[in-house]
């Protein structure tokens, strides 16, 4: 009754001739392989369902009207459910930003690189500290602007200058400038 002791290895159960074993082996392996392929394919919807859904992706562009923002003022808008800072820089602030040698900065960028040509007074950045994602102060009236007159993140003390570049504190990068364009003189479309 050797044949009934059974074994976990299907190959052992197949026929005795060499040819047969190989052919039968192949079918068993192919069947298990097909099950594996099916299982892996099933993972695609199970995993991708967690990615942003269509309605979330559709809301990924925002239009903002700038006509009411006076020089020296800033507003907070919402872009992709995150705060967005839009600041109308004064001539003095632009001057301060340009006075710094960009090469000496932690994240070297000039104000020019961070704004649109001819619109250097409009500084559009995410209001998300590049350290750990807190919202920096300085956009609203009366908030602390930090040692460099731009933004200040109170969570871990990151100071940003008037071009929203990191100058002091733990943040590794300048405040992110999202993709945007001026659709008219006073309207920007972000995203």
């Amino acid at each position: 009754m050797a044949d009934t002791t059974g074994t976990a290895d299907p190959a052992m159960i197949a026929g005795t001739e060499g040819e047969g074993i190989r052919r039968r082996d192949f079918i068993n392996i192919a069947a298990v392989g097909a099950a594996g392929v099916g299982g892996i394919a099933t993972l695609v919807p199970l995993i991708s369902q967690m990615a942003p859904s269509k309605d979330v992706l559709a809301e990924s562009s925002t239009e903002v009207d700038l006509s009411a923002i006076q020089p020296g003022q800033a507003i907070k808008a919402i872009f992709r459910k995150q705060p967005l800072f839009i600041r109308n820089l004064t001539a003095k602030e632009i001057e301060e930003a340009n006075a710094v040698d960009a090469a000496s900065l932690r994240d070297p960028q000039t104000l020019e690189e961070r704004t649109k040509p001819g619109k250097e007074n409009w500084l559009v950045t995410m209001g998300v500290c590049t350290h750990l994602g807190c919202v920096p102060l300085g956009a609203a009236e009366g908030e602390v602007k930090g040692e460099f007159g731009g933004y200040f993140c109170p969570c871990h003390g990151s100071h940003y200058d008037t071009a929203a570049r990191i100058r002091k504190g733990p943040a590794p990068k300048n405040l992110e400038v999202p993709e945007y364009e001026f659709t008219s003189d006073t309207v920007v479309k972000i995203g």
Binding site: T5, G6, T7, A8, P10, L46, Q49, M50, S53, K54
Partner: protein
């Protein structure tokens, strides 16, 4: 317990040896559904449905957990969040249809599993505990499915919740307070929806726990088989793996083909159009029906239109509906025939094929039909036979029937002869 000839788990790789000493999980699997579990060699395709039911439970848990990531259990937005899943969530339509049709598939498989048990006497000693746990699983499934159907908060969801909790209102004196307690209000609303969601999430894991007990209890006497003759020797069995893993793999393939045909090409076939109308407490659908898997019991509920002495018709219907399932608990003691398999029980077989099966078909049909004649009258006759079958026919048949001769062993049934049978005959 296991048969003495069962294969022993002998890890060869050092890592597996280490694992076996610390946490012998591979050994458990090996002995439960691996090469270490000897199974009768003559199981037919009706024995595929246990594994398929387990698969369905996992399918429902996986898709359900995912749907819960996108669904909002609030009466104000539940319907809209379901549509959000269908329209905006990546593959959301597929996951929701997989879950909705998965419930139907689960019940198809479990009904076949149960009726296999009815025919082959799987509920009989020494397997009563497996059977009792199985009935518990079935009851838990019904509760889970009912609460799940409420969640999309469509018209049928709402009115289903109202009617089913209304059943408890039939209980004398305490009925109404119980109904209000179940709903957390006077009609289904946020409170009910939220608790149904919570319990609908919890119960599948309770089911999974009872399934573990069900399988544990199965491994004490081992699997039954179509002859109903107990395993006598090694030649009667084969190891579960690879023999039945291969057969169950094939069964799973066939199952998935049918299931996916529904999922991709007729996903709403088994549902009701009214559930695509948002719940409206002020307007009852013309024809309230539960999901198809409740139809036999719904037919029994509606069969009682007549006050029996001091029992009002409504209460009688509720009693009968619960009794129709509870009677399964007593089955091992109602059917006292020493022979298990219907194959060798000529009288039982006739009542099964010409009594119980047509009765169930009628109950299924009438439960889904409107509460009109002739459906109500048909379901009354069917209900009468249903109870007659379990409570009167089975005990009497067991007394009166003369069973056919059983094969000496499973091996003899399969191969036509058994060396040991010859030896036994000589002595």
């Amino acid at each position: 317990m296991s048969f003495p000839w069962a294969n022993h788990y002998t890890p060869s790789h050092p890592v597996m040896k280490w694992m076996d000493e610390k946490l012998p999980l591979p050994r458990l699997v090996y002995n439960a559904v691996g090469a270490g579990y000897p199974v009768p060699r003559n199981l037919n395709y009706m024995w595929n449905f246990g594994v398929l039911a387990g698969f369905c439970l996992m399918l429902q848990i996986v898709t359900g957990v995912i749907l819960a990531m996108h669904y909002a259990a609030n009466a104000g937005v539940a319907f809209a969040s379901t549509e959000h899943i269908m329209r905006d969530v990546n593959w959301g339509w597929m996951l929701r249809y997989a879950h909705a049709n998965g419930a139907s598939a689960f019940f198809v498989v479990v009904y076949l599993h149960i009726f296999r048990g009815f025919y082959f006497g799987s509920y009989k000693a020494p397997r009563e505990m497996i059977w009792l746990l199985g009935v518990v699983i079935f009851l838990l499934m019904m509760a889970t499915a009912f609460m799940g159907y409420v969640l999309p908060w469509g018209q049928m969801s709402f009115w289903g919740a109202k009617v089913i909790t209304g059943l408890f209102g039939a209980i004398p004196v305490v009925g109404e307070p119980i109904q209000q307690w179940l709903l957390g209000g006077f009609a289904p609303d946020n409170a009910a929806l939220n608790r149904f969601f919570s319990l609908h999430f919890l119960l599948p894991f309770v089911i999974a726990g009872v399934v573990v007990l069900h399988i544990w209890a199965l491994h004490i006497p081992g699997s039954s088989n179509p002859t109903g003759v107990e395993v006598k020797s090694e030649s009667d069995t084969v190891p579960f793996h690879p023999y039945y893993t291969a057969k169950d793999g094939f069964g799973l393939g066939v199952f998935l083909l049918i299931y996916c045909a529904f999922l991709f090409f007729m996903p709403n076939q088994l549902g009701h159009p009214d559930n695509y109308i948002p719940a409206n407490p002020l307007s009852t659908p013309a024809h309230i029906v539960p999901e198809w898997y409740f139809w036999p019991f719904y037919a029994i509920l509606r069969a009682f239109t007549f006050d029996i002495f001091f029992i009002p018709a409504k209460l009688m219907g509720v009693l009968a509906m619960f009794a129709a399932i509870l009677v399964w608990f007593f089955l091992p003691w109602l059917d006292n025939s020493p022979v298990r398999s219907g194959h060798y029980r000529p009288m039982f077989k006739k009542f099964f094929w010409f009594g119980l099966i047509p009765t169930m078909a009628v109950l299924f049909y009438c439960g889904g039909a409107p509460a009109e004649e002739p459906y109500v009258m048909l379901s009354q006759i069917a209900t009468a036979y249903y109870f007659l079958h379990f409570l009167v026919v089975l005990p009497l048949v067991a007394l009166m029937e003369k069973p056919k001769p059983l094969p000496f062993s499973i091996t003899e049934a399969v191969l036509g002869s058994d060396d040991e049978a010859k030896l036994a005959a000589k002595s």
